[in-house]
Each structure stands twice: as structure tokens, then as C-alpha cells.
């Protein structure tokens, strides 16, 4: 005799916040999580760059032009750094394995500002002896440590992406939201202007925008200039999409309800229309950060962006432009690898976010 099956109590879906739902859809996408983790690591390193970098970005060693990469090796239980001897001829080095110096951790070195404001002189590693340099990725044409410059450069290159996105997307959202909500002549003029910006090939526009700034600016001015240039180009496409969404959202009943209870136009746009575009905005932002990073790279590479002795990934790649140098000192291409990894991580994360945000797909 069969016993009656107990009626399976179907689990009622608990009321989850949109963020929880989003996270649930994102979690199985391992490749997106990998991209996210890489980015968290990269940005954390950039924040504490001064601590991890064994040298300052502008510390010149005139005995170590184009010094090859130096990797610590184990000697018993200690990590030691071998000395490199300069041979006659231009930039030939030979490792002297018998002459080593132990590698110390948390060693006192050059002064820097930890997190940008705490004066500090402790570095993660170093030998404390100028004759035994620890150039993990070699040295450039001025004998500066490429690894340290890469870390200091990441502060510039990585932050430009985030700051640029914040600036251009908030502008795009406000302009697009208002343009779609109010419609009319202002909308037409704004959109024509957006189309104008979008119709010029990006890099040509970057150069003509750069033309409007005077040469010989301070490094912080240059940094602000790059962000302004890239945001000026970036906001237009964002404004267009948000305007389209806003145009269809304003016909919805909840907007009618909001205006019926007497909310102001500004409040309706900021509190009701724009939050509905967030899922698109977040995906688009993640996928657009690489363009800002690459924009800085191109400007600095062409010599019209970040200036020496400041470090940025584009500026460092500029040193690798000489094919003879590139062949003899391939470590000059290290910033290229850093750019590649960053852009790849953003693409991984952005792709996963897009799939997770797309609720129509099953």
C-alpha cells in the first residue's frame, strides 16, 4: 500500500533586495568573479603603492641604465639578491652569483606618504644597499626601477578610469535624464550636440581638445586635463542612452503618481527615473573604464599627457617605442602587460555583469 506523499511545501520566494538578486545571478559566473578579484587586487596595490614599491618613481640610478630584471633567489632559508656587474660596451650586465646581499622585509628606505597623507619610510622589501638593487622588472633608460614606476603609474592610470567614469556618467545621467523628461527644443539641441561629439573619431577629438590647453602645466593640472578631455567625449553616448530610457519611463504610471502627489521635477528625475537606469549604467560603466585607461595611455604615449618624471603606464610605454631598445630590453614592455591585464579584468567583470543584469535571458 502506498502512503500518501506529503504535499511538498513550495518555498515562497523571500523578498530579496534587487542587489541580492543581482548578486545571486552574478555568483555562478566564475570568470566575472575572477575579473573582480583581479581588479580589487590591482586597486589595493595602487593605494599602497609607496609601501610595496622599493624605490621612488623618480629615483635615478646612474650606474643602472637598462639594468636587467633582478629576482631574489633562495640561499639556504634566506632570500638573497645578487650583484650585477657592468661590462664594457653599452648597457651590458653580468650577474655575479657569488656576491649577494640578503633581502630584508619591512626595511627603512626613502620617505613617502602612506595612503597619500601618512609620512612613512618603511618598505615591504629591499636590500638597503644601493649597489645591490632589487629591480624586479628591470630598470629604464634613466636607471629607474620599472616595478616601482609601474606601481606609482597605476595610481594615475587606474584612478583616471574611475574618476573619469564618475564625472562623465553623472553628467550623462543628469543631462540625459532631464533631456528625456522635459523633451522639447532643449532635448533636440542637446541630442544634436551629443551626436556631434559622437560623430568625430575619438582620438582626433582628443587631440583637438588637447589643442585647447596650454603646454607646460603642472602634473596635477595635466591629470585634471586628461580627465576633462576624456569625460567630455564620454558623457555624450551615456546621455543619449539615458535620454531614451527617460523618454519611455516618463510615460509610466509611477511617474504620473509621483507628479500627482506633487513631487518636483528634479525629485522625480533623481529619485524615480535615474534609479531605473542603474542596472544599465553599472554595466556600461564597467565596460567603459578601459576606454578611459586607454585614453590616458594614448595621450601620455604621444607625449601630450602625463610628463616626466611622473609615472604613468602610457608614458612608460613611450620608452619602449625605440625598436632597438625593445629588442635588447624587452622588460620595457612591462606596462603593456599591466594595461592588458587591467583591461582584460574589466572586460571579464563587465561581461558577467551584463549577463547578470539581463533578466530576460534564462
Amino acid at each position: 500500500m502506498e502512503t500518501a506523499e506529503p504535499i511538498a511545501i513550495t518555498e515562497t520566494p523571500s523578498a530579496s533586495s534587487p542587489w541580492r538578486l543581482f548578486w545571486r545571478r552574478l555568483k555562478p559566473r566564475k570568470i566575472a568573479l575572477v575579473g573582480g578579484v583581479i581588479l580589487i587586487v590591482l586597486y589595493s596595490i595602487a593605494i599602497v603603492a609607496g609601501f610595496i614599491a622599493p624605490y621612488r618613481y623618480d629615483q635615478i640610478d646612474d650606474k643602472a641604465f637598462f639594468h636587467p630584471p633582478v629576482w631574489p633567489r633562495f640561499h639556504g632559508l634566506h632570500l638573497v639578491v645578487p650583484r650585477y656587474e657592468q661590462l664594457p660596451g653599452d648597457f651590458n650586465y653580468q650577474v655575479v652569483l657569488s656576491d649577494t646581499k640578503p633581502l630584508h622585509f619591512f626595511i627603512h628606505g626613502d620617505k613617502y606618504q602612506f595612503l597619500g597623507f601618512i609620512p612613512c619610510s618603511i618598505h615591504l622589501f629591499g636590500t638597503g644597499d644601493g649597489d645591490y638593487p632589487v629591480f624586479l622588472f628591470g630598470a629604464d633608460q634613466f636607471g629607474r626601477d620599472i616595478f616601482s614606476r609601474l606601481l606609482y603609474g597605476s595610481q594615475v592610470s587606474l584612478s583616471i578610469g574611475i574618476v573619469g567614469i564618475l564625472l562623465s556618467f553623472s553628467m550623462g545621467m543628469i543631462v540625459g535624464g532631464m533631456s528625456g523628461y522635459f523633451a522639447g527644443a532643449a532635448d533636440t539641441i542637446t541630442m544634436r550636440f551629443c551626436e556631434l561629439i559622437m560623430s568625430i573619431p575619438a582620438l582626433y577629438l582628443i587631440i583637438s581638445l588637447r589643442n585647447a590647453f596650454p603646454p607646460g602645466m603642472s602634473s596635477s593640472q595635466v591629470y585634471a586635463m586628461i580627465i576633462i578631455i576624456l569625460s567630455f567625449i564620454g558623457w555624450a553616448s551615456m546621455a543619449r542612452v539615458i535620454r531614451g530610457m527617460s523618454l519611455s519611463l516618463r510615460e509610466q504610471q509611477f511617474i504620473l503618481a509621483a507628479s500627482a502627489i506633487g513631487q518636483s521635477h528634479l525629485k522625480i528625475i533623481v529619485r524615480h527615473i535615474l534609479p531605473n537606469t542603474f542596472s544599465y549604467v553599472i554595466v556600461a560603466a564597467t565596460l567603459s573604464v578601459p576606454y578611459y585607461i586607454l585614453g590616458e595611455v594614448v595621450l601620455s604615449f604621444l607625449g601630450v599627457g602625463i610628463q616626466e618624471p611622473q609615472a604613468s603606464w602610457g608614458l612608460m610605454l613611450n620608452a619602449a617605442q625605440n625598436t632597438e631598445y625593445m629588442q635588447r630590453f624587452p622588460w620595457l614592455l612591462a606596462p603593456g602587460a599591466a594595461i592588458f591585464i587591467t583591461v582584460l579584468a574589466f572586460n571579464f567583470l563587465g561581461d558577467g555583469l551584463r549577463d547578470a543584469a539581463d533578466t530576460k535571458q534564462n
Partner: protein
């Protein structure tokens, strides 16, 4: 199209007017040139007048087909721009053919053999291709050319070009073109391939494809005759984006691989403060892009009879 180009020229002119100094500012330091000569030259180029007067002069000349005179190159800007525009066009067009010629078959292959090793390899390389910056790829190509010696390291023609026979000259050009075109195509290829794959996969799920299969049509007929024709339409709309990407990519490739195109001219003119030339090149690049988008629209109308140009 004309209002757009007018707007673009006005915008770039405005930006140019914001910039301090002009080509002659540097010449003023030169003791061999008298101040009177410089004043005279500035008056000749209307550089002593406000920007809107300059703009009207410039516009009047452009409508007569005259792009002015390049102060830095000392030749007519029109002939300079036409040569450079042709070079950029040749480079972008070759890259376009390479990119679409490889991306479309690969995308179809990846979609037909979904989840096979072909598909996974293709999507892996697409991810890598989308993430390699043009700057790095161009540098690597230069490195490759320098270390193997198979390709010339940058430039458009060899130094002995003028002494070659026409056939050798043609081969010389092709030889210089191959590497930059491949670099430029590589950055574009990944995006098109991914799009082709997803479009074809979407179409293969449609009901009329199932119906075609149910009627017992061969798989090849179903894919190439029914699904592909419809899957190709969305691709033609990204043709315009692809062109914009190519022009920006060409800008980088030209500057790194010393290909004398429009992008390189823009940067050279920028450094020489030859401001009229900067405006000219930006307007020409925009015109090239707008023309490309127009061709994309025509292609779309030709391929899909439901779309008619207004």
C-alpha cells in the same frame, strides 16, 4: 551630413581659438626673421583677427575646395590632406577586409559548433583580442618586424622606392602595408566575431529554422540559406561602429608604425601648432566616418528589403 560637418568644424575651430599662441609664436624667437615679416605673415593667414573671422575665411576657402596652406609643411594643405587621407583609407580598407573576411567565417563556425573546442578557442581569443590595447599590439608588431626582418619596421615605402620599377614599387607598398593592416584588423576582428556568433545563435533558435529543419532540409541549407541571411542584418548595423573603431585604431597604428596617414598628420600638425591643419584633418576624419556610416545604411537597405531609406 553637411550641418554635422559644419558643427564639427565650428567646434574644432573654437577649441583651436582657445589655445594660446600659433605657429608664428615660435618664429618670433628667431632673430633672423624680422617682426614685420611675422606680422605680415600673420595678416596673410588672418591669424591676427578674432577666431570667428578666421572661421569665415576658412569656411569660404573650403567651399571653393581649398583647405588653405600648411604653414609647417610649406605646401598646399589640400594636396597634403588628400595624400594622407588616401593612405588612411588604404590602411583602414585593407584592415576592414581582413577583419570581416576572417571574423565572419570564424563566427559562423563557432556558432554552428557551439560549446565545442572550436567555440571555446574562438571566444578565448576574442576576449584576448578585445583586451589587447592597440598601442601594445603595434609595439609588438614593430618588435616582431625588427627581430625577424620579414617586414619593414614602419613607414610606407622603402628609402630606395623612387629607383624601383613600377612592379617593385607596388610590391614595396604591399610589403609595408601588410603588418599595420593586420594589427589594425586584429583589434576589430574579435568584436565582429563575437557578434556574428551571437547573432547566428539567436537566429538558429527562431521558429522558422525549426520549421525548415522539420521539412527535412539539409543542415547546410538551413544555416546558410535561412539563418545566415537574417543573422547578417544586425552585423551590418555594427559596420558603422566598426568603422569608427578602425579610424581610431588607425590613428594609433599610424603614429606608432610611422604610416603617413591622417592621424599622424593630426599629431604632427598639433605639435607644429599648425592649427588650421588640425581642424582640416579632424573634419576630414569625421567626413570619412560619416561616409562610412552612409555606406553601412545603404548596405543594410540592400540586404533587408523591409528597410527603406527615407
Amino acid at each position: 551630413m553637411i550641418p554635422l560637418l559644419l558643427g564639427v568644424s565650428l567646434l574644432t575651430f573654437l577649441l583651436m581659438a582657445l589655445s594660446p599662441g600659433n605657429y608664428f609664436t615660435a618664429l618670433q624667437q628667431n632673430p633672423q626673421i624680422s617682426q614685420d615679416t611675422i606680422k605680415q605673415l600673420q595678416a596673410q593667414f588672418h591669424l591676427d583677427k578674432p577666431w570667428y573671422v578666421q572661421y569665415v575665411f576658412w569656411l569660404k576657402n573650403v567651399f571653393c575646395g581649398n583647405f588653405g596652406y600648411s604653414m609647417a609643411y610649406k605646401i598646399s594643405a589640400t594636396s597634403l590632406i588628400i595624400t594622407r587621407l588616401w593612405n588612411t583609407f588604404v590602411l583602414s580598407f585593407t584592415a576592414l577586409i581582413i577583419a570581416w573576411g576572417i571574423a565572419i567565417p570564424l563566427g559562423i563556425w563557432a556558432a554552428v559548433r557551439k560549446d565545442s573546442w572550436v567555440d571555446h578557442t574562438c571566444s578565448f581569443f576574442a576576449f584576448v583580442g578585445l583586451s589587447v590595447p592597440d598601442v601594445l599590439l603595434s609595439l609588438l608588431a614593430m618588435w616582431f618586424a625588427a627581430s625577424t626582418g620579414w617586414f619593414p619596421v614602419g613607414g610606407r615605402e622603402s628609402p630606395l622606392h623612387d629607383f624601383l620599377t613600377p612592379a617593385q614599387q607596388f610590391w614595396d607598398h604591399i610589403h609595408h602595408l601588410i603588418l599595420p593592416a593586420i594589427v589594425l584588423a586584429a583589434s576589430d576582428l574579435a568584436g565582429i566575431m563575437r557578434r556574428m556568433r551571437s547573432c547566428l545563435l539567436d537566429t538558429l533558435r527562431a521558429e522558422y529554422v525549426t520549421a525548415a529543419r522539420a521539412r527535412g532540409l539539409s543542415e547546410g541549407w538551413v544555416i546558410y540559406k535561412h539563418a545566415l541571411r537574417n543573422a547578417i542584418n544586425p552585423l551590418l548595423t555594427i559596420f558603422g561602429y566598426s568603422l569608427a573603431g578602425l579610424l581610431s585604431g588607425a590613428f594609433i597604428v599610424e603614429n606608432i608604425m610611422a604610416w603617413p596617414g591622417l592621424g599622424r598628420l593630426t599629431v604632427e600638425a598639433f605639435f607644429a601648432k599648425d592649427s588650421y591643419l588640425v581642424v582640416d584633418t579632424v573634419v576630414m576624419a569625421t567626413a570619412l566616418l560619416v561616409a562610412g556610416n552612409f555606406i553601412a545604411d545603404l548596405l543594410l537597405a540592400w540586404s533587408d528589403p523591409r528597410i527603406r531609406l527615407k
